[in-house]
Symmetry: C2
Subunit: 291 residues, 2 copies
Amino acid sequence: MAASSLHCFQLVKFPSGSRPFFPAGSYGGCRIKNKSCHLVFASAKKTDQCLFTDSKVQTLLDSVKWDEKGLAVAIAQNVDTGDILMQGFINRDALATTISSRKATFYSRSRSTLWTKGETSSNFINILDIFIDCDRDSIIYLGKPDGPTCHTGAETCYYTSVFDQLNDQQLQQVEENKLARTTLYSLESTIAQRKAEVAAPRDGKSSWTKRLLVEHNLLCSKIREEADELCRTLEENEDNSRTASEMGDVLYHAMVLLAVKDVKIEDVLEVLRRRFSRSGIEEKRSRKAQG
Amino acid sequence: MAASSLHCFQLVKFPSGSRPFFPAGSYGGCRIKNKSCHLVFASAKKTDQCLFTDSKVQTLLDSVKWDEKGLAVAIAQNVDTGDILMQGFINRDALATTISSRKATFYSRSRSTLWTKGETSSNFINILDIFIDCDRDSIIYLGKPDGPTCHTGAETCYYTSVFDQLNDQQLQQVEENKLARTTLYSLESTIAQRKAEVAAPRDGKSSWTKRLLVEHNLLCSKIREEADELCRTLEENEDNSRTASEMGDVLYHAMVLLAVKDVKIEDVLEVLRRRFSRSGIEEKRSRKAQG
């Protein structure tokens, strides 16, 4: 993004309970809820010089421990799955732009310019919150991506396992584009793989997951049974490890059902976020206020 | 960690199906499973000069795009929760040490030395896998922490919300040490808060979650009912959004039960990881082979 096309900032007041307008496609998870609150936001106006008039933003920017080049690390993370999407560097302008536009924005060290992820691909990362670490030199952009983040088309930029590379080149070829997945999504990916094997069987290897994927009566009876067993750990005062184990059973079997129905855990978490997050509550309030 | 105490590397062969020995406390999630495979590992021997004899590790280290100071970014992530624990910088030695010791190791720019997270606090981050990004200049250390990661005692180093700071200083004080949480853990934290309110009621505000936390018959009947409704979305061929919504209900109600029983979602995910991950399967095979 050339300097001439930088978004510019203005000081705007939002009344209590209201929500500011963000560009179409942005994720309106704004945390504004207190009294009359000030927030800088991106106007459509383009100019060579940006004016930051909000002293709180300035104070915040001053509090970051920028390195000798005026940079800090920024990590973009998917708010629902926890996937680390990408990592880049930011300068003052990049952070200020992200705060105002709610689109993850970085500073390109090679091109010496700001760039907003998605400005070419339209796969923006819509910011719900930003966290700064104890040393104040590292930032998390917690957001919801509009689509794959990596320029290769992969969901995240981290799809190469160092241990796979070290162990066996062929293994890496087989499992190429295996994303850095945490436990829940690793299990989801395994179940998806079993589903693909059921659809196009190459060998006769059977597995419990494959059986559940095709025998829906069995699957549903297992889900009901495991839910019942989870409840019984409370009703019969069983120990905590039993509860963890039964909850694992509930989760696994329910995730097989999600795979059958082509529903992602991420979709479920998005439902929960909209229901339970502060922004969801605000959204409801805002709709009431507007309606 | 002073240069003189650096672990040193040796070339070792492991037969097919076997697992190398890692120091007590390390998490043995090693991906070795193919034929006879080579892996460098940390010996107890200390020396001033480290010899990397494994050409694969050297090739890997050569393939990283180190910056002009010989550094790259490393992000430590909790393999079960997806929490970003901390971010640091690494040089060749730090990455090599992490690969061999399976303890997240960084390079301190201020002290110009390697340091292994946990060497003082004993809260090591036990590495299960390492991922490198598309540009090969950013690394994820996917691991399981032994305890809180931050030197402040916080679970992660990211406990300051920029938006809270910008919105209202008082709000920040109220919610201080609010971690950067993704959806599932944000919900878990909300439920825990309701549980604390039930235990020490300050106002008469009621909520569905509070009611479920005390009325265990109601909670269990809701869990069984929601599990049944989830199954019916498959049995009665309801649309996918219904499945996502019902799964959200199952998850939420089951999480209230977990809160009642003092079980963390992280415990459940650890159970699932041990059951389903490749390392779990290997562990079983290895025990059979040894037994």
